[in-house]
């Protein structure tokens, strides 16, 4: 069945093509020249040349998250590989399927401190789901197929394949994907029916149920989001989503309470605190969500659905653990609910909804409007108004702007909100937007950015220009590392150490210097016009939105505080003003 022996680099390309790879984000160097040579000789794989290897991984993440496919990366040995580490860690934390090919010095030089040698498998072991060093060309195709299997099965994640240069030159036989089955890795996908029955029993007896959906729903695929929505609607129970889960339930659904967690809504957090049955689907009880663990949702029975058994009972003890793919579990739960015609108690539910409506009246995202200065929240409201009827993909950087974007932009479907949740990587948004635009040429792709974060991967403007990608960078420019400034104001006595950036570039001219379009809004009245112009631009575009420099992001549950100790904004009369405890100070 195998044909002529092929050169390692050609075997690699064939294996990638057979895995359905269409695009690879990369950056060349000595160790991977044979691969670039093989790429040059073919036209099935498209290579996107980034300007920094970290960006290659973020672009692959943006591509993967917006298309549901695997993101593929190619970098050289040594510095190429070490530059990719932040991206790999980001993908690991957010469970994004990535296959990253790294060049390596030839096998006979490994361990010699050769030029551009790094112990890539050693360095990336803790920041990948799995990694491989290919020592023999005969293993190459099999390992590539295995890597795709590992990256996409079970909880998705990044996989590194380290490729010594001599292996890329050696010739060997091709192994097709069908001939490869993994020896040991068989994650559980189908749920245990007994657990489903127990979950249904709890839901049926619930008086104050709450759905808590996370990125696992999005990762499972659009079908899972559809089933989640159906389950929420069938039970008519309130639902909240994590930062990673936004879009898993249409934001317009009246049962959606908004995001949960540190900057989540008042109603979502209090519902989490007060519910009696919590149904966690593909969410991992992250510390940004739970706040103080000992006070987390003290009176609820918890059902936890997750594909990763190690996520269960890690932070919070649960009552019913269901291991499996979110889609399969939701399907089984819906079937069981319908079969048993099970529904939570109607009268109790009415009371629960009345309580939630009370909380909603608090209008926790309210902010002080202004005619003179652009409030960041207002800028996002205007942005949303302008893009809501388009197919829009939003990426973000990290900071206040990210949290405001999560609060003020609304997502009707999954795969349209791409943010660095687990690692919180400044510099994620622009390369992720590039990847998303490559994967979705017709979509409007906008990176909601902060002026500090955007400088961490600003060089990718050059990539966007090269490939004529009309990505838009919407900078909420407060001249501060706003989130740092906010913590310093609330937790460190207003000592603003190093959180102000003097000597910021002129973002308009910067965009133009790259060959893109630069725009600026300085007053609220200019916003709509500038946003319209941004949407019309057929080139990469940076919009410098000069916003209120000292606005804070509320609600906020300070580290170490419980959900019912949330801080509300200055517009709210009755919010908790409890100072942060010393225990909380040490937390991040």
């Amino acid at each position: 069945m195998s044909t002529e022996p092929m050169q390692g680099a050609e075997l690699l390309i064939k294996a990638l093509v057979d895995q359905g790879v269409e695009v690879i984000f990369g950056y060349p160097g000595g160790a991977v020249l044979p691969i670039y040579d093989a790429l040059f000789k073919q036209n099935r794989l498209r290579h996107i040349l980034v300007r920094h290897e970290q960006a290659a991984v973020h672009a692959a993440e943006g591509y993967a998250r917006s298309t549901g496919k695997v993101g593929c990366v190619l970098v050289t040995s040594g510095p190429g590989a070490t530059n990719a580490v932040t991206g790999l860690t980001d993908a690991l934390m957010d469970s994004i399927p990535i296959v990253c090919l790294t060049g390596q010095v030839p096998t006979h030089l490994i361990g010699n401190d050769a030029f551009q040698e790094a112990d890539t498998t050693g360095i990336t072991r803790p920041c990948t789901k799995h990694n491989y060093l290919v020592k023999d060309v005969r293993d190459l195709a099999r390992i590539v197929h295995e890597a795709f299997y590992v990256a996409t099965h079970g909880r998705p994640g990044p996989v590194v394949i380290d490729l010594p240069k001599d292996v890329l030159f050696a010739s060997g036989d091709y192994t097709p994907p069908e001939a490869v089955t993994h020896k040991s890795y068989r994650p559980q996908v189908e749920p245990d029916p007994q657990r489903i029955e127990e979950a249904i029993e709890l839901i049926r007896g619930a008086k104050r149920p709450l759905f808590y959906g996370g990125g696992g729903i999005v990762n499972s695929g659009p079908k899972a989001a559809q089933l989640f929505t159906e389950l929420v609607r069938t039970t008519d129970a309130p639902a909240t989503l994590t930062l990673m889960g936004l879009g898993a339930l249409p934001a317009s659904d009246p049962r959606f309470l908004g995001m949960v967690g540190m900057h989540g809504t008042y109603e979502a957090n209090l519902a989490m605190h007060g519910c009696d049955v919590m149904i966690a689907v593909g969410a991992r009880f992250d510390d940004r969500v739970t706040g103080k663990l000992s006070a987390f949702s003290p009176n609820s029975k918890k059902i936890h659905i997750d594909i990763d058994p190690s996520s269960i009972n890690k932070n919070v003890r649960v009552d019913v653990a269901i291991v499996g793919d979110a889609g399969r579990v939701l399907e089984a739960m819906l079937a069981a609910l319908k079969r048993r015609k099970a529904k939570p108690d109607g009268e109790a539910m009415a009371a629960w909804w009345r309580q939630i409506d009370e909380w909603r009246k608090r209008d926790c995202l309210r902010y002080r409007k202004s005619d003179d200065v652009i409030k960041p929240q207002f800028a996002l409201e205007r942005l949303y108004a302008a893009v809501k009827d388009r197919d829009t993909i939003i990426t973000t950087e990290v900071g206040q702007h990210q949290m405001w974007a999560a609060q003020f932009l609304r997502f009707e479907r999954p795969n349209r909100w791409l943010t660095s949740g687990g690692l919180g990587t400044m510099g994620y948004g622009l390369p992720a937007a590039i990847g998303a635009q490559i994967g979705n040429p017709g979509a409007t792709v906008i990176d909601v950015a902060g002026e500090a974060s955007i400088l961490m991967n600003i060089q990718e403007m050059s990539t966007a220009v090269q490939y004529r990608l009309p990505v838009k960078v919407f900078v909420l420019n407060n001249e501060y590392m706003g989130m740092v400034r906010q913590w310093q104001e609330l937790l460190h006595g207003g000592r603003y150490a190093e959180s102000y950036t003097a000597a910021l570039p002129d973002f308009v001219r910067l965009a133009e210097a790259f060959g893109g379009v630069g725009l600026r809004a300085t007053k609220p009245s200019e916003l709509d016009r500038v946003i319209a112009e941004m949407l019309r631009a057929d080139k990469p575009c940076i919009v410098d939105v000069l916003v209120d420099k000292t606005e804070n992001c509320f609600p906020m549950i300070p580290s170490g505080a419980a959900h019912n100790e949330m801080l509300l904004g200055p517009e709210d009369a009755g919010g908790s003003k409890k100072p942060v405890s010393e225990d909380g100070m040490v937390l991040v």
């Binding site: 498998t121 040991s184 058994p309 190690s310 890690k314």
Partner: protein, 169 residues
Amino acid sequence: MSEAIERHTIAVLVDNEPGILARVVGLFSGRGYNIESLTVAETDPANNLSRITLVTSGTRMIIEQIKAQLSRLVPVHGVHDLTDEGPHVERELALIKVAGTGEKRIESLRLADIFRAKVVDSTTESFIFEITGSTEKLNAFVKLMEPLGLVDVSRTGVVAIARGPRGFS
């Protein structure tokens, strides 16, 4: 859920491949778990499998995490908590060097006999004893040798296997 610290012996079947031990050890150090002992050797050459036996301690929640985290490593074929799964046999082997002459030398031999330690090497001034048994037994023997001229100890760490007719599945 009890916060008491439990000690567990866990057997892990893994692919015998480069880096596997680093994965296991890195998991423990990266997540701040304890390793009291760890042994590894190839046990099924035909299938290229090694068996790791490790002894760890932590609260029940941590022990469950450790097992889940181990199971999640891609080259891991199976994880068994021997402490939880019922009766099992645990053994450790040690080589113990005692140097001395006269009364002490004779006393060390006498104690070795009681502990069924074997003399595997001797010179006019030293013995090497080989002893197998539970960790506690080895600890006790080492303690007794201390005043008798103990100069060196090399221990394997615990290996363990479940009782009864069934194998590792």
